[in-house]
Amino acid sequence: METFFDTLKIEENICPPGCGVCREKCTQVQRSKGKNGSGIHEFHIPDLGVHMANTCNQCSEPVCLDACPSGSISKDEKDGIVRIDEKRCLGCGLCNLVCPYGGIDYRADEKKAFKCDLCDGSPECVNVCPVKGISLMKARSIVGYFHEDPLLKGSSLCVGCPAETTLRFVLRVMGKDTFLFGAPGCATNVINGQGIKCMINIPSHMSNMTTVPSTMTGVKRYYRRLGKDVKCVAFVGDGCATDVGFQPLSGAAERNENIIFMCYDNEGYMNTGIQRSSTTPYGGWTTTTPAMGRRKGKKMASKNVPLIMAAHEIPYVATAVIGYPEDFLNKLLKAMAVKDGMSYIHILSPCILGWGYSIPASLEVIKAAVETNYFPLWEYERGKYRITYEVKNPKPITEYTKLLKKFAHLEKEEIDELQEIVNRRFNRIKRLTEAF
């Protein structure tokens, strides 16, 4: 009975000091409905440099609802909005007392509780926030695209590895008419299972690292000859996609095969125990680019494979991360819609062991990679480049490198160099979006 609904997302600590535009707008909107209050509130603690806003999460199992003694709170089955029926509200304050997220405003003088009603689906605060810090998370639109999960629960990947979540996400969007291809690497454990035990319920194949795009070609072409449109989807690591299997990838792109090729880039050969690949970043530690003695990690910058793929002028190329699922979903949908050629999606997929961070932090790392422009989210669609997630105030690269042990040895000089690479690459993409 899982149900998912839209909810407001507020960026962390980016409000301009003193700003309360969202609350003012909400109050105005509510007044026009004859109500007095605001569903969103800014809070500023200048001494701590805190300038944020807060609102209700529209919880899936709202505790406020359970605690209301007059049955005034309901969760709408259709839009998921948690509403208070003002006429019934006693003003007892219990909802305010139990909501852990500060989602309910209670005013003793009014003897009423008040909360966000998401403007019944199109929240106005989103439009007025001067720093675009509020967005409506279209959770339902993602889940609405989900098919049955073809993977069993659990996997033999490292605990907390985002690759499995990413693959699951991809497959749930792709649906059952999918042939899945992997190559030797971490994800094959999920794609193909081990031995005679597998955890997948769609046809899947582990190729050699050099034969993924070609095998996909064969399957796709054979079914095409039979007059059947099947999805051929690859989910392979960077070693396969960008090194040893790069030639066939480029070949398939040039032939414009109607396949969807995804590289989950963990920036190295992780399944063999962390060796450098051509996407290992500048300065990055691996066992073959050690940071000891005379060596300071990898000397050269990573191969910019998504851009190279775009240079093939296939219909669709994108970068994506699981940390921005709406963005990812859109890209998957676009890739799936392409029927006349190839789609390539390059996914940054942090490796807990190889990058050196603690287990639950994958999303934090992904987010930092995006927020520092280390891994900009963009797409190339039939000749047009577009940045799909604009980072408002890109953070310095140190906000990313500080999270990862693989960069721990870098000194200012190298950090500057890495920053320079990041800037250069981002500007290149930026200029491409302007030029095309």
Partner: protein, 401 residues
């Protein structure tokens, strides 16, 4: 009708074109091509056929041989009939996928327009490329003539896709001597070939479909199962031998041409000495055998057609009781300082009745050199001498003399 549709006609064709007609007649679903001399014209011809609408397979032009084989693996896994051809470095570059095809038991048919193998580089005839991959799990058929190339391709599909076999098959022919030399070729009619291949239709074969999802090529197979796979593949190879003889008989009945199945036995019955050949030098050798027969020498010839799996039983039968065997090898084995067929026959010797025949090896025709009647005559004479008890060199580098 297209002017290049020569089905049902008798024409003068080189080996590449003859091979191309063999492929056309088998109507593959997917063809992948990557050019490399000397097989290139075979693939080119297929493109002409396709362009002229003689058949309508999916034509894929990958960026390299490994991807060509990868493509066929995909198409074959899904249930399709496939074809490609390669030579020399193309074959070695394909190795990654070449092994995968065999290990997964995909009934792919691939022609090898044989050529020397690097290094030194040489766009020259030879057998070294194909012989080198003798334990990569493929069945290999070696041919003598342009007609045999065409016919062998048709037989190769029958063999590969047979539910008792399910193994990939190479049809090998020497570059230039066969690929580019023209001979009289009878091109069968489509209906005849359709009828010949018809038994494959009802054969069992696992297919990779959406309806019955299946994981293939999984990661860590437990040792017992791994061994079982190996064993079963070995058994499939063993079954392929008699099966090939059967297919040859059936082919003869339908088309009036027989090649003897695994091996061709030429005037061997009363022969005291046997010359062993493989590939196009057989024609020259047969001429010499006839000549020597006229002189009263009891010499016969065995042509190895099926190099892989080894036609052991047939060889034992034909070689039993012979006094001497002279092997002509157009390839080398560095380890033993001999040719590969010499090793093969030597292995068979232990199963023969005593006294064992003496065995001599003659390495000839490397680097695209001709194997002439003079060469073969030397082979016959020295083998006779050895049979008579004279001292002999076990291995002779004939072309160096």
């Amino acid at each position: 009708m297209s002017s290049i549709d020569l089905r049902g006609q008798i024409r003068v064709l080189d080996g590449n074109r003859a091979g191309a007609y063999g492929v056309l007649l088998c109507k593959p679903d997917v063809i992948a091509s990557y050019p490399i001399t000397p097989q290139t014209p075979l693939l080119e011809t297929l493109y002409k056929f396709e362009a002229e609408g003689l058949f309508d397979p999916e034509m894929v032009e990958p960026e390299g041989e490994n991807s060509a084989m990868g493509t066929l693996i995909g198409a074959c896994a899904a249930g399709g009939r496939t074809f490609t051809a390669t030579s020399s470095q193309g074959l070695s570059f394909m190795n990654d996928a070449y092994l995968l095809a065999a290990g997964n038991r995909f009934p792919i048919v691939m022609a090898i327009g044989m050529r020397e193998q690097v290094s030194p580089h040489g766009v020259i005839s030879g057998q070294q490329d194909a012989v080198l991959v003798k334990d990569h799990g493929w069945i290999q058929i070696y041919t003598e003539s342009c007609q045999e190339i065409l016919d062998s391709i048709i037989m190769a599909y029958r063999l590969a896709e047979d539910e008792d076999v399910l193994l990939p098959v190479n049809v090998c022919y020497e570059g230039f001597y066969l690929s580019h030399h023209s001979q009289r070729v009878e091109i069968p009619r489509q209906e005849e070939v359709d009828a010949f291949l018809a038994p494959l239709k009802g054969m069992n074969r696992l297919k990779w479909t959406l309806e019955e999802p299946m994981v293939f090529s999984s990661y860590t197979v437990p040792p017992e199962l791994y061994t079982e796979y190996r064993y079963k593949m070995c058994m499939a190879h063993q079954r392929a031998k008699a099966k090939f003889d059967e297919i040859d008989r059936e082919f003869a009945a339908k088309f009036g041409r027989s090649y003897g199945g695994q091996i061709e036995e030429y005037r061997t019955e009363d022969a005291e000495i046997i010359i062993v050949t493989m590939g196009c030098s057989t024609g020259t050798a047969k001429v010499v055998v006839d000549r020597k027969r006229d002189e009263g020498v009891k010499v016969g010839l065995v042509k190895i057609r099926m190099f892989r799996p080894s036609p052991k039983e047939r060889l034992i039968k034909v070689l039993n009781g012979k006094k001497a065997i002279g092997v002509i090898d157009r390839n080398v084995c560095y380890a033993w300082n001999c040719g590969h067929n010499y090793i093969e026959i030597k292995t068979v010797l232990s199963d023969l009745d005593r006294p064992l025949p003496v065995l001599l090896d003659f390495i000839a025709g490397l680097g695209g050199a001709d194997i002439t009647d003079k060469h073969v005559e030397k082979v016959v004479e020295r083998t006779i001498d050895a049979a008579k008890g004279k001292t002999y060199e076990p291995v002779t580098w004939l072309s160096l003399e």
